[in-house]
C-alpha cells in the first residue's frame, strides 16, 4: 500500500514536471518525486511492528524486529541532497526571473544560443 502510494507520488511528480511550465511548479514536482522515492526507501526498510534500530538491553533479544537502519540512513542522505537541489533550483528560478522577468519557461521560448 505504502509502496503504491510512493509510486503514485513519483508519478504525480513526473506528471507535474511534464505538464507544468512554471519553474516553481516544476520544482515542486521534483520535490514530490523525491518525497515519493523517500517514502519508497523507508517502505523497503520498514515492516509492521518493527522498532527503532537502537541497541538497547531489552531490544537485544528481539533483534529480528528492528526496521532496517540503512534505509533510514539513506533517506536522510537523500533528503539532504534533495534539499540542496531544491535550493539550487530556487536559485536558478530566481536567476530566470531576474533575467526574463517571468517564471514561465514557455514564455522564455527557448532562448537562442549565443
Amino acid at each position: 500500500m505504502i509502496r503504491l502510494a510512493s509510486l503514485l507520488l513519483i508519478l504525480i511528480g513526473l506528471y507535474g514536471i511534464f505538464s507544468s511550465r512554471n519553474v516553481i511548479k516544476i520544482l515542486i514536482g521534483v520535490n514530490v518525486m523525491e518525497l515519493g522515492v523517500n517514502i519508497f526507501i523507508i517502505s523497503v526498510g520498514f515492516f509492521k511492528g518493527g522498532i527503532a534500530p537502537i541497541l538497547t538491553a531489552d531490544s537485544f533479544s528481539s533483534a529480528m524486529k528492528f526496521v532496517d537502519p540503512l534505509a533510514q540512513a539513506m533517506v536522510l542522505t537523500s533528503i539532504v541532497i534533495g534539499l540542496g537541489i531544491t535550493a539550487l533550483g530556487l536559485v536558478f528560478a530566481r536567476k530566470i526571473h531576474a533575467q526574463y522577468d517571468t517564471y514561465d519557461l514557455g514564455a522564455i521560448g527557448g532562448g537562442k544560443d549565443d
Binding site: 513526473l14 514536471i17 511534464f18 505538464s19 511550465r21 516544476i26 519557461l105 514557455g106 522564455i108 527557448g110 532562448g111
Partner: protein, 606 residues
C-alpha cells in the same frame, strides 16, 4: 635499395621541407623535387629485392611485382609534378604544409602498395586521403576538398568493414590469406564493400563526383598527381579484389554473364557506365581541368574493366592503361598548369592561341591527348587495343559499345582544350606571354617521351605485366620481339610507327617541294569580308559542342543524389534536435516515460 630507407627518407624530408619552407619558400619546393626523385630512383632500384618481406615498426611489408609496378607509376607522377612546386609556392596559402603533405602522401602511397597486411594498407591509404584532402583545400574550392573526403571516406569505411569481416572469418589481416574461407552471402558482402574504396578512388560511377571537383579545383601542382597518381590507388584495390580475393573462384558457382560471374560483370558494367558518363560530361565542360577530370573518369572505367577481366589480354590492357593514363593525364594536367602559370586561368573561354606563345607546352599537350584518346603511335592506343581485343574475345557487347563510345567521344573532348586553349586566336592579354622555363618544361618533356616510348615499344611495359600475370596465376599475354599476339590478331606497334613515319615523310616531302606559303597574321582570316579587330571575338571556344550537348542537357546530375542523401541525414539531425532537445524538462520526461513503458512492455513479453 631498401624500402625502409625510401620511406624513412621521404617522411623525414617531408618534415624537413615543412621547416625549410618556412625559411625559404623556393628551397622547400626544390626539396620536394629532390625527395620525390630520390624515391623514384630508389623504387626503381628496388626491383632487385622483389619477393622480400620485412617490417618497419609494426608495419609489415612485402615487395611484390605488382606493388612495385604501381608504386613506380605513382612516384613517377609525384616526382614529375614536383618540378612545378617551387614555382607555385608564392600562390599557396600554406606552402610549408603543402610540401609536407605532398611528401607525406607520397610516402603513404609507397607504403600502401607494398603493404603485406590490410591494416598497414589501410593506415597508409587513409594517410594519403587526409593529407591530400588538406592539399586540395588550398586550391580553388573548399567544397571540392569536402566532396573528395566524403567520397573517399565512403570507400575507405566500406573497405575497412570488408577487411574486418574477412578477419572475423579467417583470423588474419595478411593480404594473401585474409579472404580465405569466405563463401555465400558473406563473400558477396565482403567483395562489394572491399572494392568500394577502389571504385571511389578510380572515380567509377556513381562515385565519380569527386574527380571533377577535386581535379578541377586542386592546386595546379596537385591535379596531375591526383589524376595521374592517386586515382591509380583504386586500381590497386580493384586488382586485389580479383586476385587476393579470388573473385572468379569464389563466385564461380554464380550466375554468369558471358562467362563472367555476375558480381564482377556488374562492376564492369559500372565501369562501362562511367566511361559513358565521363565522356558525356567531359564534352560539355568549360574548364580545362574539369574536362580532363571527367576524362579520368572515363579512363578509370577502362582500367576497371581491364583489370576485372583478369584474363590474358584484357587484364594486360587494363594494367598497361594505368601507365599510359598516368603519364598522359599527368602531362596534360601539367600542360594546363603551365598555361595557367602564364595566364592565370584554366577556363577555356578565357584563353586561345597559346600555341604561338607556348609551343613546347602545346606539343606536350598534343602528345598527351593523342595517348589519352588512344590514337597510335602513343601508348594509350596499345592499351586500349588490348582491352578491345579482350572484350571482343569474350563477346561482351555492351561493355564494348561503351568502350567504343568512350574512345570516339574522347576525340571530341580532348580536342576541345587543344582547340580552345592552344589553337585559334591569341587573346590580346596573352600576346606578350612567354613559354615556361626549362625547369618546368623538363618533366613535361620526359612524360611526353615516355608516352611515345610506351606507344612504340609497348613490350617494355608489357613484359613487367606478364610477370604480374604470372604471379597471380593467369597466362601472360604473348609477346614476340616487338609484337603483341592475341587470339584475334596481333599488333606490332613499332612497325605501325615506322609506317606512320613513312607516310609522314612522303607528305612532308610533297609539302616542302611546293612553293613556300605566304605567312599571314592570324587575324587575317575569312570573315565574309567583315572587319573584325577584336581577337577575342574571333575565337570559338565556349559551348563547343552545343548541338550535341543539347541532346543530353537534361540528364540528371549525380551530385544531386549525394546532396539528397546529405539533406536526408540533415533532416534526421533536425528531427533528433527537435524531438529530444529543448529548454523545458517536459520533453525528457516524456521520453523517459515512453521508454519506461516500452521497457515494461518488453519485460511483460519476455
Amino acid at each position: 635499395m631498401n624500402l625502409t630507407i625510401i620511406l624513412a627518407v621521404t617522411v623525414v624530408l617531408a618534415v624537413v621541407s615543412f621547416f625549410i619552407t618556412r625559411l625559404n619558400k623556393k628551397a622547400g619546393g626544390f626539396l620536394t623535387v629532390i625527395a620525390s626523385l630520390f624515391a623514384f630512383v630508389g623504387l626503381f632500384l628496388l626491383k632487385g629485392s622483389i619477393g622480400g618481406e620485412f617490417s618497419i615498426f609494426y608495419f609489415s611489408f612485402k615487395i611484390t611485382m605488382v606493388g612495385w609496378y604501381f608504386a613506380l607509376i605513382m612516384v613517377l607522377a609525384y616526382s614529375m609534378t614536383s618540378f612545378f612546386n617551387p614555382f607555385w609556392m608564392d600562390k599557396m596559402m600554406y606552402p610549408g604544409s603543402y610540401n609536407f603533405m605532398y611528401l607525406l602522401s607520397m610516402a603513404g602511397t609507397i607504403g600502401m602498395f607494398f603493404a603485406k597486411d590490410f591494416i598497414t594498407l589501410f593506415i597508409f591509404w587513409e594517410t594519403v586521403v587526409w593529407s591530400s584532402t588538406f592539399i586540395i583545400q588550398l586550391g580553388k574550392s573548399r567544397k571540392a576538398s569536402y566532396v573528395y573526403y566524403v567520397v573517399s571516406a565512403i570507400g575507405s569505411m566500406a573497405t575497412l568493414f570488408a577487411i574486418m569481416m574477412a578477419y572475423s572469418v579467417s583470423g588474419t589481416f595478411v593480404i594473401s590469406e585474409a579472404f580465405a574461407g569466405l563463401s555465400g552471402g558473406a563473400a558477396i558482402a565482403v567483395f562489394f564493400t572491399f572494392i568500394l574504396s577502389g571504385l571511389a578512388k578510380i572515380g567509377i560511377f556513381p562515385f565519380h563526383v569527386w574527380l571533377p571537383a577535386a581535379h578541377g579545383n586542386a592546386p595546379h601542382t596537385f591535379s596531375p598527381v591526383l589524376s595521374g597518381g592517386l586515382v591509380k590507388m583504386g586500381a590497386f584495390i580493384a586488382f586485389l579484389s580479383v586476385t587476393a580475393f579470388p573473385a572468379y573462384e569464389i563466385f564461380s558457382g554464380m550466375f554468369k554473364v558471358m562467362g563472367t560471374p555476375f558480381p564482377i560483370y556488374f562492376l564492369m558494367a559500372l565501369g562501362a557506365i562511367s566511361i559513358i558518363v565521363g565522356t558525356l560530361m567531359a564534352i560539355k565542360q568549360e574548364d580545362a581541368k574539369k574536362l580532363l577530370a571527367y576524362s579520368s573518369v572515363a579512363n578509370g572505367g577502362y582500367i576497371l574493366i581491364g583489370i576485372l577481366m583478369l584474363d590474358q589480354v584484357g587484364f594486360a590492357g587494363g594494367m598497361m592503361h594505368l601507365v599510359n593514363h598516368a603519364v598522359a593525364s599527368a602531362a596534360a594536367f601539367l600542360a594546363i598548369a603551365a598555361v595557367a602559370y602564364r595566364t592565370g586561368t584554366t577556363k577555356m573561354s578565357e584563353m586561345g592561341g597559346m600555341i604561338h606563345r607556348m609551343p613546347v607546352t602545346y606539343i606536350v599537350y598534343l602528345v598527351a591527348i593523342i595517348s589519352m584518346a588512344g590514337i597510335p603511335p602513343m601508348g594509350g592506343f596499345v592499351s586500349k587495343w588490348l582491352i578491345f581485343q579482350g572484350l571482343a574475345d569474350k563477346g561482351m557487347l555492351f561493355l564494348a559499345a561503351a568502350a567504343f563510345f568512350g574512345s570516339i567521344g574522347s576525340f571530341m573532348y580532348v580536342f576541345r582544350p587543344l582547340s580552345a586553349v592552344f589553337l585559334g586566336q591569341t587573346f590580346t592579354r596573352d600576346l606578350k606571354k612567354k613559354e615556361v622555363g626549362f625547369f618546368m618544361m623538363l618533366p613535361m618533356l620526359i612524360l611526353t617521351a615516355l608516352s611515345i616510348l610506351a606507344g612504340v615499344f609497348p613490350n617494355t611495359i608489357l613484359r613487367v605485366i606478364t610477370e604480374i600475370q604470372a604471379s597471380v596465376g593467369i597466362s601472360p599475354v604473348t609477346l614476340a620481339e616487338n609484337t603483341i599476339v592475341t587470339v584475334n590478331g596481333y599488333l606490332d606497334a613499332f612497325r605501325v610507327f615506322i609506317v606512320f613515319g613513312f607516310g609522314f615523310t612522303i607528305a612532308f616531302v610533297i609539302f616542302i617541294v611546293r612553293r613556300k606559303s605566304k605567312k599571314v597574321e592570324l587575324m587575317d582570316t575569312y570573315t565574309s569580308a567583315e572587319f573584325i579587330h577584336t581577337r577575342e571575338l574571333l575565337h570559338y571556344s565556349s559551348k563547343f559542342y552545343a548541338p550535341f550537348e543539347r541532346l543530353y542537357d537534361k540528364a540528371p546530375d549525380t551530385m544531386k543524389l549525394y546532396k539528397k542523401i546529405a539533406v536526408k541525414i540533415g533532416e534526421l539531425g533536425n528531427l533528433t534536435e527537435s524531438l529530444f532537445y529543448g529548454h523545458k524538462p517536459e520533453k525528457t520526461v516524456f521520453w523517459v516515460m515512453i521508454t519506461g513503458i516500452f521497457v515494461v512492455i518488453i519485460g511483460g513479453v519476455v
